[in-house]
């Protein structure tokens, strides 16, 4: 642990590797002790996000998407959660970082937007006060008046009407969309280089969702920050993300450029996600094909490929490979940038021949 901290300090002083992406997560594993034994919520997860880019993380509840991003912010209790691997933010190693130094980073260089804005904002304090607090913590020399001015400025920036009056409102006086804007304002008040948005629009109406996504994109362009969007809505991913990471049972099962993953998916779980969600513009002959079964318990995950009990294509793999051996995260036939965890030898062909005609008949010709 001490060794890690010292190397990170060294790398920070040396200005780190200039070619490295802003956020690099390497072999991250998070294990929680429970009464029923250790629960590994995230295993061997690796990804990176560059400044100005957006990574979308997709997966069902319990797939480890929130746990992994909370690890980036150092929000797990280090006394109970066991975190191994490496997380580097702008060259600083975060795993094993002292709480005091983590606090300097959190909310300053890295910020998070939570799903439920009403629960994430304190009901007893005025919006402006909560925003100002976030500013003052990282600007100890600023006066309260400066902080308030900054709060008004941020509320204006995220599109809240009459920000100089609304700054004195309580969270309950804001509508759902405005609360989410206030949360974004709070996240961005210190110009963070990395913003993690955990289901930022799930509780919102489509029209408000569109407003919030527009806002996030404008702000990203303006501040050139790296953004991670965690969601289960593939439509949001398609419109926002440069890179997509699909998680299942705590592991990355497919990772690559967004266009690649959504137009040429190579992992049956990703196919399942695409086929089980209806689409507003789909062909009316498209079928809705659910993924059978339920997500597995992480206390006793299935052997081999964790998706095999629900996989509809495992008979195409010779022998009992899917049940006995965990497939490695390897590049498929479509280049090194697109990695997947699957034993299927020719996933692209299977997708084109079997899956696509059912879920999007109109796309078969084009492909």
């Amino acid at each position: 642990m001490t060794e890690q901290t010292s190397t990170s300090t060294a790398s920070l002083r040396a200005g780190a590797d200039p070619d490295e992406a802003y956020l690099v997560v390497d072999d991250l594993t998070v294990t929680f002790p429970t009464e029923d034994g250790p629960l590994t919520a995230v295993s061997d997860l690796s990804y990176s996000v560059e400044l100005g880019k957006t990574l979308g993380i997709v997966g069902e509840s319990g797939s480890g998407k929130s746990v992994s991003s909370m690890a980036v912010l150092g929000l797990h209790d280090t006394k109970s959660a066991k975190i191994s691997g490496s997380i580097r933010i702008g060259g600083t190693e975060v795993v094993g970082l002292s709480e005091a130094r983590m606090r300097k980073l959190r909310g300053n260089q890295v910020a998070m937007i939570f799903q439920d804005a009403l629960a994430a904002l304190h009901p007893f304090y005025k919006i402006g006060g909560q925003l100002a607090e976030a500013y003052l913590v990282h600007h100890p020399n600023a006066s309260k008046r400066d902080a308030r001015r900054k709060a008004v400025e941020m509320l204006d920036r995220v599109g809240i009407p009459q920000p100089d009056r609304r700054v004195d409102d309580f969270p309950h006086q804001f509508s759902g969309g405005m609360r989410q804007r206030a949360m974004i304002a709070m996240g961005l008040i210190n110009d963070p280089s990395l913003l993690i948005a955990d289901e930022p629009t799930t509780a919102l109406d489509v029209t408000v969702q569109a407003q919030i996504l527009d806002l996030l994109q404008d702000l990203q362009r303006e501040f050139n920050s790296a953004v991670i969007i965690i969601t289960h809505d593939l439509g949001v991913i398609a419109e926002m993300a440069d890179d997509v990471l699909v998680m299942y049972a705590g592991r990355c099962v497919e990772y690559g450029p967004g266009k690649e993953i959504l137009t040429h998916p190579e992992m049956p779980y990703t196919w399942g996600l695409l086929s089980s969600v209806p689409d507003v513009t789909a062909d009316t002959n498209a079928r809705l094909i659910p993924i059978p079964g339920n997500p597995p318990s992480l206390l006793s995950p299935p052997s081999g490929c964790q998706f095999h009990p629900r996989c509809l294509h495992r008979d195409k793999v010779p022998g009992d490979l899917c049940r006995t051996e965990l497939p490695a995260l390897l590049p498929g036939s479509r280049g090194a940038g697109h990695v997947k965890r699957c034993h299927l030898a020719n996933p692209d062909e299977v997708y084109r021949a079997e899956v696509l005609p059912e879920i999007a008949p109109e796309l078969v010709e084009e492909n």
Binding site: D233, I237, K259, L274, A282, R310
Partner: protein
């Protein structure tokens, strides 16, 4: 009573069966098998008789002043004069933003609220249930059941599944006490749960399984109409499709009509051949699926549809051009005059503030409430409704002109107002 026949269920859809059996016990099913049982969107039967006909339904909730007297100082106009029909065995989708009154509508139809005004004619003899006394209503209640959004709070944690699903049977005295259990087990099997699990508690089930319990409870009394209030929005994506397919199977099997309330436009598109769009307590557009999703005429419907993120956008990259709706929905206590959408509408002119646009039939299966109704990008410059309503472009009444009476009921007519030629045409 038991018109549920178990024999029919020998070839239950694989989706339901697979989800509950441990993996080792079942045979591997192939993708092609499952795909063949996958579900295409439901289709519209234009000749189906309505099972429910709602006319000018209103629900005003009083707003009380603070203080001792608690005088009524205003009303929340949650539902303000809506008319629609649900065809027997079909489904009508109700979409809109939160606070537009879609859930209130569902609760009115199940008579959890008594409406302020309007009629709701139900069943073969089209009895009006809007103001029926509780005693007369009780035998009818079994025909209208509800599926709730949140499977975690809508099941009593202290009751077993058997007690939850069997409760409607004992309340309505439809079967003797000793026959309740077999019927409950039958129902559990119908929704794809293990019938042996009747004595378990809700907390022993996953979210998708709990929603199935809620569906079994709603099916207990063989309803003719199910009000499904956001039945899948609390479930995981991979489970949503399982539940939607189950509902579609049940609809086909038992000829149940659905009023499907949801904010997810894609799910509604898949499940409902007919869709009504609500805004601030009013229906602004109602039409068959192809019309709503293909050539909507109301600017609000167009904005809603353009706001939905699309997976296919990945192939193109970047974000779709969309109509930006500014601000929030106005308060239903003091809604805008005239057209309620005008405060956020890009087409709004003077007439919109003065005259409320009627919900006008403009196609064989298409009604819209807008002075400037037209396809996206082809909205007319002058109000299409002015001759019909006897007003000028600004909405002031033209002296000497007589407004044409407009049919505003829930039914579909053979004659409709063509927005292009601005005349009445027939089929």
């Amino acid at each position: 009573m038991s018109d549920l026949n178990l024999d029919k269920f020998e070839d239950r859809p694989a989706t339901a069966e697979v989800s509950e059996t441990p993996t080792d016990r079942r045979e591997q099913i192939s993708f092609a098998d499952l795909a063949a049982k996958g579900h295409k969107p439901a289709t519209l039967d234009v000749n189906a008789k309505p099972v429910l006909s709602v006319d000018n339904l209103k629900m005003y909730f009083p707003v009380k002043s603070s203080g001792l007297l608690r005088r009524t100082v205003g009303y929340v106009q949650a539902v303000d004069g809506i008319s629609f029909q649900v065809p027997s065995g079909g489904s009508l989708g109700l979409v809109g933003e939160s606070g537009c009154g879609k859930s209130t509508t569902g609760r009115l139809i199940t008579r959890l609220y008594t409406p302020t005004a309007g009629t709701m004619k139900f069943g073969d003899i089209q009895e009006d249930i809007a103001h029926m006394s509780p005693r007369k209503l009780k035998p009818l209640r079994r025909n209208v059941q509800m599926i709730f959004q949140d499977p975690y709070t809508s099941l009593n944690p202290r009751h077993t599944v058997g007690a939850i699903v069997g409760a409607p049977l004992s309340v309505h005295n439809v079967v003797p006490k000793n026959k309740i259990l077999p019927r409950v087990q039958e129902l559990l099997e119908v929704v794809g749960l293990n019938p042996e699990h009747y004595n378990r508690y809700p907390n022993e089930f996953s979210g998708g399984q709990r929603q199935r319990i809620g569906i079994a409870r709603a099916l207990t009394l063989n309803p003719k109409l199910l009000v499904a209030d956001e039945p899948v929005s609390a479930l995981d994506v991979s489970i949503q499709a399982q539940v939607i397919n189950l509902l579609q199977d049940l609809q086909r099997e038992f000829d149940i009509a659905f009023l499907f309330i949801a904010h997810d436009l894609a799910v509604v598109r898949h499940f409902c051949p007919e869709v009504a769009v609500m805004y601030l307590g009013k229906i602004v557009e109602i039409a068959d699926r192809e019309t709503i999703y293909g050539r909507a005429h109301h600017p609000y419907t167009q904005a809603l549809l353009s706001a939905v993120p699309d997976v296919k956008q990945a192939a193109i990259g970047g974000r779709r051009e969309r109509i930006r709706l500014e601000g929030d929905v106005p308060s239903p206590i003091n809604p805008p005059s005239g057209c309620r959408f005008r405060t956020r509408c890009s087409l709004a002119q003077e007439i919109c503030a003065k005259v409320e646009p009627p919900l006008l039939q403009i196609g064989p299966r298409h009604k819209v409430a807008c002075h400037f109704a037209g396809e996206l990008g082809h909205h007319p410059q002058t109000p299409v409704t002015k001759e019909l309503l006897g007003v000028d472009d600004q909405g002031s009444p033209v002296p000497g002109s007589t407004p044409t009476p407009v049919e505003l009921g829930p039914t579909w007519s053979d004659r409709w107002f063509d927005v292009k030629s601005k005349t009445m045409v027939s089929a």
